[in-house]
């Protein structure tokens, strides 16, 4: 039962500023996912929380306690490493029991807890083996088991699924979510994979270049990204961005992209009325661009001409890569729309789902 | 349940213990009838254990004193002004005592002769204190004469620990990131300081002295630049040991190093390439080929020395047989023009050789011996390197149409170089310094014609007792190797990758 607070945390490695002023709160029992491209400082943030890196300035709290100078062993946390970091010379049982032994837990208690954890993770039959006799997925479970038996206040995960194959990753994702529901403890999970973040998190913190970009629930992050980076990072394939200019024509507001222009629907247009001539970036997700034959009804549609460049058939959907002037448009359309490469097509933008960002600050304009 | 678990867990240990104990009893009962013929007895064993035990106790005790001292410097800090004054003065006191002990050590080993004057009295103070305490202990019948010295030392070192306890109780913990690192390297650092750095400076001082047997080593030796100059001059104009001149010995050392390393690498490479394939009996070949490396050098050297005996040695027996065979052949082919003469000529050239008297053959004999000893090591190192080269490169090269030789030139050699280059460099340095074979087989003879630099130096020191001269000699050899290393580092781009 614990909350975690980062207060104005800064971390420098020599002259390199890895984390610039990190400031957020992880609520008790929350599953927070720290996501971002590699080198964004997310792992460093986790390692500072674990006590493996020192904090250059600022404060980290677990509950009310400032832990900056507390040794890792006294922080009451457990961590699952990317490499699993299982002790190769110990059996699975000893691996899981090591932390408890160091804390002088009675033997019976250790046995009970390890058994329990092993049952939860379905690794009871592996307890006598050494790590090198296990498969990747089994090692992963043991690493999680080692964290569980400690019954810590906070669980830390450092890209734990990145060494697994795709199928296993999906399976473990579900299991970790289940585990969180079962244990009702604070989870902090670092990954570079936005799918993992979206599927597991109760809230997601998106980081880039040592700065927290946005911290919110997955749905808000997807629907209302705070800036260009978050908009591009969340969602796959990523959002289409077209640099353009706002043109106010009486009551109507348009965004002019040189090769084409779009009209902002009435309900949304008010925000942009005073911005005539402003350089913006117009964004729309591929799933909001449709084949006219299969477009949903009751949307504010905007027809755009383009030429098909590449098509990718996924079975349940089709990705169209189209060219319009200098712009590439990616659309995720119904599989029944059979477009050929080189064909001139018309697609429909669902203008209710548009995003507009300032071209300079890259912040969303709402 | 618990009990059986315990037995199960410790079964290997118990079995090993039982096996060792029974082995001991079997062995001792086997030896018992002959024990009168053996000089080793339990008293010798116990005495040695006592001697070494005391030594280790002393070493680790002294280390503990030093380690705690630095531990407190890194990890404790004063709580207030008064405690700061007390702590710092205690630490200063201990530092002074330590410096005095080191100075005493210098004095006792003759690096600085401090004498018995004012400074001498201070330097000797800690030891005098120990002596006084010892006498007091004997007088008060507190300890016997034999144990008084130890008891006094223990009592005195107790003082240190009391002082440390005082510091501990008036200080508070302090965080230090690198303190532990220094504490960890401290013991090795002290060892290196006393056993490498100190002797090195000692050597420099000796080089500028006339120390020899006549001066009873350092006891009556004179020091001064002029002696150093004389030693230096003698090195290049006089003889390096008794007969040989520096230039000739240096040339021979270069020959010795180059020939040895060349043959080691070529031979090792050949064997490694032959072994680096699927082959029947590979393990057997490997084990047999390593034997020259596995044999203790002393034994190998003596065995080979025997084989170079002019009458009973293997080489001359074989050469003699070959000679007789050629003579016989020339008799049978007398009629055939050319061939008969050829065999006759061969018979006059090939025959037993005087390995001991002829300087050339003596040098060949030590070369043969050292090459024989050194090939297995290189072979194993190179084999390890070869095995780490993926077979896929060769398959790719074969598809590209590369010949075996091209594959060797363009794949094997470049990929082997990370293993080979350091091995060759180390090989050069080791061979340059390796003279046990020479010393054991020819003793450098005849007339020092098989000596290399290091063996001459060894003889100058311990056969002719030219201490001052030897020290200068050693410095010059060190300078040569140092320049070699610098050149190597320059070529190879330094040690950066290794120390990162």
């Amino acid at each position: 039962m614990a909350s975690v607070t980062f207060q104005n945390v800064i971390k420098n490695f020599g002259d390199v500023k890895v984390i610039k002023d990190l400031d957020f709160i992880v609520k008790d029992q929350e599953f927070l996912v720290l996501v971002g491209p590699s080198g964004c400082g997310k792992t460093t943030a986790l390692r500072m929380l674990a006590g493996l890196e020192e904090v250059t300035s600022g404060q980290i709290q677990i509950d009310e306690r400032v832990v900056n100078d507390v040794a890792p062993k006294d922080r009451d946390i457990a961590m699952v490493f990317q490499s699993y970091a299982l002790y190769p010379h110990m059996t699975v049982y000893d691996n899981m029991a090591f932390g408890l032994k160091l804390r002088k837990t009675p033997k019976d208690e250790i046995k009970k807890r390890v058994q329990e954890a092993a049952e939860i993770l379905d690794i009871t039959h592996l307890l006598d083996r050494k790590p090198r006799q296990l498969s990747g997925g089994q090692r992963q479970r043991v690493a999680v088991g080692r964290a569980i038996v400690r019954e810590p206040k906070v669980f830390l995960f450092d890209e734990p699924l990145s060494n697994l194959d795709a199928k296993l990753r999906v399976q473990m994702r579900a299991e970790i979510s289940k585990l969180h529901q079962r244990l009702q403890t604070t989870f902090i999970y670092v990954t570079h994979d936005q799918t993992e973040a979206m599927t597991m998190a109760s809230r997601i913190a998106v980081m880039n270049k040592g700065i927290l970009q946005q911290l919110d629930t997955p749905q808000v992050l997807y629907d209302r990204p705070a800036n260009l980076f978050v908009a591009g990072f969340i969602g796959s394939p990523s959002m289409n961005f077209f640099p353009g200019t706002i043109v106010v024509k009486g009551d109507a507001v348009e965004v002019d992209m040189d090769s084409f222009s779009v009209t902002i629907p009435e309900g949304l247009a008010d925000t942009y009325k005073g911005m005539n001539g402003r350089k913006v970036i117009f964004g729309i997700r591929p799933e909001n661009i449709h084949d006219p034959n299969f477009a949903p009804v009751n949307i504010h549609d905007q027809r755009v001409q383009a030429k098909v460049d590449v098509t990718e058939l996924m079975g349940n959907e089709t990705f169209l890569y189209m060219l319009n002037g200098k712009n590439t448009i990616v659309a995720r359309v119904d599989p029944r729309s059979h477009k050929r490469v080189g064909e001139d097509v018309e697609v429909i933008f669902n203008m209710d789902r548009l995003h507009i960002f300032d071209a300079e600050t890259e912040e969303a304009i709402r | 349940m618990e009990k059986t678990d315990f037995i199960k867990k410790n079964l290997p240990t118990i079995l090993w213990g039982a096996a060792l104990i029974s082995l001991y009893f079997v062995f001792s009962s086997l030896i018992a009838p002959y024990s009168s013929g053996i000089t080793l007895n339990s008293k010798i064993v116990v005495d040695r254990l006592k001697e070494i035990g005391g030594f280790l106790l002393g070493i680790f005790g002294a280390l503990a004193v030093v380690e705690i001292y630095f531990y407190q410097i890194f990890f404790r800090q004063p709580t207030n002004q008064t405690s700061a004054i007390i702590i710092r003065s205690i630490q200063a006191f201990i530092a002074i005592v330590a410096i005095l002990l080191v100075l005493y050590f210098f004095n006792a080993t003759d690096l600085f002769r401090i004498g018995d004057g004012g400074l001498g009295k201070i330097v000797n103070a800690p030891l005098n204190l120990q002596e006084a305490l010892k006498n007091a202990l004997i007088k008060s019948k507190f300890a016997s004469k034999t144990s008084a010295g130890t008891t006094a030392s223990i009592l005195l070192s107790l003082v240190f620990f009391i002082l440390y306890a005082v510091i501990h109780f008036i200080s508070k913990p302090r965080a230090s990131k690198t303190g532990l690192a220094y504490l960890l390297i401290l013991p090795a650092f002290i060892g290196v300081l006393f056993l490498i750095i100190y002797p090195f400076f000692f050597e420099i001082k000796l080089a500028f002295s006339n120390a020899s047997l006549g001066t009873q080593a350092t006891k009556n030796a004179q020091y001064g630049f002029i002696y150093g100059w004389n030693n230096f001059k003698t090195l290049f104009t006089g003889t390096v040991a008794q007969d040989a001149k520096f230039g000739a010995v240096l040339w021979r050392t270069v020959l010795w190093t180059v020939i040895n390393v060349t043959f080691h690498v070529l031979g090792g490479m050949g064997i490694a390439i032959l072994l680096n394939r699927k082959l029947m009996f590979k393990g057997v070949y490997r084990a047999l080929l390593v034997i020259p490396w596995a044999i203790p050098t002393t034994i190998a050297a003596m065995a080979l020395r025997n084989e170079f005996d002019s009458r009973y040695g293997l080489f001359n027996i074989l050469l003699g047989d070959l000679n007789a065979w050629l003579l016989n052949l020339s008799l049978h082919t007398q009629g055939v023009i050319g061939i008969g003469n050829l065999f006759h000529w061969l018979a006059t050239v090939i025959g037993p050789v005087s390995w001991k008297q002829d300087p050339f053959w003596a040098f060949v004999s030590v070369l043969i011996s050292n090459i024989w000893l050194g090939i297995p090591f290189m072979a194993i190192v190179i084999l390890g390197g070869l095995q780490s080269i993926s077979q896929e490169y060769y398959e790719a090269a074969e598809i590209d149409g590369a010949s075996r030789w091209q594959q060797f030139r363009n794949i094997t050699l470049p990929l082997l170089s990370p293993v080979l280059t350091p091995a060759i460099i180390l090989g050069v340095v080791w061979t340059f310094n390796k003279f046990d074979i020479i010393y054991l087989i020819t003793q450098g003879g005849p007339q020092e014609k098989t000596d290399i630099l290091v063996s001459s130096m060894y003889k100058a020191a311990f056969q002719f007792y030219r201490y001052g001269f030897t020290a200068m000699f050693a410095l010059v050899i060190f300078a040569i190797l140092f320049v070699f290393t610098l050149v190597y580092l320059k070529i190879s781009g330094g040690l950066k990758s290794a120390t990162e």
């Binding site: 010379h89 | 020259p292 203790p296 290091v454 311990f462």
Partner: protein
């Protein structure tokens, strides 16, 4: 025998690696057999001489098992000979060697294991300078420091004691062992240590419970290296030890060779007795010895 079997065993012998013709394979086997003979023969000769009766020691006979082979030499080496009223020092020498070399190896492995850990895991001032310095000490000729060490040991009145030789030996092996172990520690993932810290371990526990168990192979190699180095050392021992009672075995067996009547038979018998266990140990560990060597000094 079925022809099938013959052809199969032939194929087995020629166990063809990719692209080698049978003729080439045969040539490789022949070359290796000759190389093995050259490697082994001098060692076999030592055994031959040790088996010769005393009256036929000097002979041009090249047979491996001599005529009238006898174990008398071994008996005399081990247990002395009551007829000649001579006692055997063999066990004494072995004990001297063993006690000196074991202590040296233990001290140097402990010192190296601890400081190599600091060099591997800590970033502190003077770290790379220290490492380069340690390597430089290996450039110092073995005989170079011998003279000052000898004078030092003499002044400390440790000539003819085991302690003197322990001191002299300890110097040589520590720097290289530090390099070797540092190289090994570097290969142990730092994650393991961090996991242990989070599990509740202190620096000390991590060192004893994670690092040391994981590096037992390297520690064993370091120990064997140091042991082998000292075990057959002759030149330093000759300078420090001058009394028969404290001789190590390399000095000891030379007493057979340096008396007026050189007793080659006994010399060889003693050599065989000493060499066989050492060689067995060596052959058993040689694979790891090389990997340790490449780990430490070659790869850095």
């Amino acid at each position: 025998m079925k022809p099938n079997l013959i052809s199969r065993s032939l194929r087995w012998f020629f166990y063809r690696s990719h692209g080698d013709s049978p003729f080439k394979t045969l040539l490789i086997h022949l070359t290796l057999i000759v190389a093995c003979a050259i490697a082994v023969y001098p060692a076999l000769r030592v055994i031959t001489i040790s088996l010769r009766p005393n009256d036929t020691l000097l002979t041009t006979d090249l047979r491996i098992i001599p005529q009238n082979a006898t174990l008398d030499n071994y008996k005399e080496v081990l247990f002395g000979s009551p007829e000649k009223n001579r006692q055997s020092d063999f066990f004494l020498w072995i004990w001297n060697s063993l006690s000196i070399v074991l202590v040296t190896s233990i001290i140097s492995v402990i010192l190296a294991a601890v400081s190599a850990y600091a060099f591997s895991r800590f970033k502190f001032r003077g770290r790379s300078a220290g490492l380069v310095f340690l390597l430089t000490t290996q450039m110092i000729p073995a005989g170079m420091l011998l003279l000052p060490l000898y004078i030092m040991i003499a002044k400390l009145k440790m000539i003819n004691t085991s302690l003197g030789l322990i001191i002299a030996y300890a110097v040589t092996s520590v720097p290289l062992t530090i390099w070797m172990l540092k190289g090994y520690y570097d290969t142990i993932p730092i994650d393991l240590e961090e996991a242990a810290y989070i599990d509740g371990a202190s620096r000390f526990t991590v060192f004893t419970n994670i690092i040391l168990p994981l590096s037992t192979p390297a520690l064993a190699i370091a120990f064997i290296f140091s042991f082998m180095g000292g075990w057959s050392e002759y030149l330093v021992a000759r300078v420090i030890l001058q009394k028969n009672a404290i001789f190590t075995w390399p000095l000891g067996i030379f007493t057979y060779a340096q008396q007026f009547t050189v007793s080659w038979g006994q010399f060889s018998a003693a050599s065989v007795l000493i060499a066989i266990p050492v060689m067995a140990l060596f052959l058993y560990t040689s694979k790891w010895l090389v990997s340790g060597l490449t780990l430490g000094s070659v790869k850095g």
